[in-house]
Amino acid sequence: MERRALYIAYLLNSPEEFKKKLQEKVKDIKDTIEKVEKKYGKDSKIIIKNSAMIDLKETLILALSYIAILNSDKAKEYKDKIIQKLAYIRENKILTLDQYKDAYNLLEQILMI
């Protein structure tokens, strides 16, 4: 428990390491999209919810933490975008596949900073 907490503090002090963690989570989101597209088609109007939605929320919170650590003007541009996405998800609880992909694209942009 203590070691885990210390590891979190370490990550907050290490943007490069934090980015690696974020990349792992973003890859999971990408995998989910690919699975859904494979099963239902790229233009599917399917609704994303439950665990896939929780994964996305966790990843967006992680991305928010990441840009806070980067503390640059470029990173700050993404702060409002992430907060808006989280607020929308909280309000609506579901996303269409297109909206889910849109959130994934935002995460990809953040990884490019």
């Binding site: 203590e2 885990r4 907050l12 002090n13 929320k57 650590i69 907060i83 309000e91």
Partner: protein, 138 residues
């Protein structure tokens, strides 16, 4: 005292203990932010637990800042430390004084807090990398 007595583990220094405390609480906050609507209806969701934990995290951040005392610092860093302290106090005060804080406001406070702490963690000695590195941090 028994001369053969040994502590079961090395007691961490003060700064490390505050880092551990902060790491613990910030993880709980991130979970609450991610799972918030699971606690009930969005409209009636009570943010009190989130506010309480954010206040605790700010207190840990202030303690962390205090634990940097004694490290050699440039005049600029000393000014940065003072500014960070005032910013953290302002965040704490915002939570106490504004009863109408929304989920969006709390996300904003979370962001500001992480930003300040990541700066504070740079003061003093660097954090050693823990041996375990395969944690899922959310």
């Amino acid at each position: 005292m028994d001369e053969n007595f040994q502590y079961p583990y090395v007691i961490p220094d003060l700064k490390t203990r505050f880092q551990i405390g902060f790491g613990n609480i910030i993880e709980q906050i991130a979970s609450l932010l991610a799972y918030s609507e699971m606690y009930g209806d969005t409209e009636t969701f009570d943010n009190e637990e989130l506010k309480y934990k954010l206040r605790a995290a700010i207190a840990y951040a202030l303690a962390l800042l205090g634990s940097t005392w004694g490290y050699a610092m440039s005049a600029q860093t000393q000014r940065d430390v003072e500014m960070a302290k005032e910013s953290l106090k302002a965040l704490f005060s915002r939570i106490i004084k504004d009863p109408e804080l929304t989920y969006l406001d709390l996300l904003d406070i979370y962001y500001e807090l992480i930003q300040k702490v990541s700066i504070i963690l740079n003061y003093g000695t660097p954090i050693p990398r823990p041996r375990t590195e395969n944690y899922d941090i959310t």
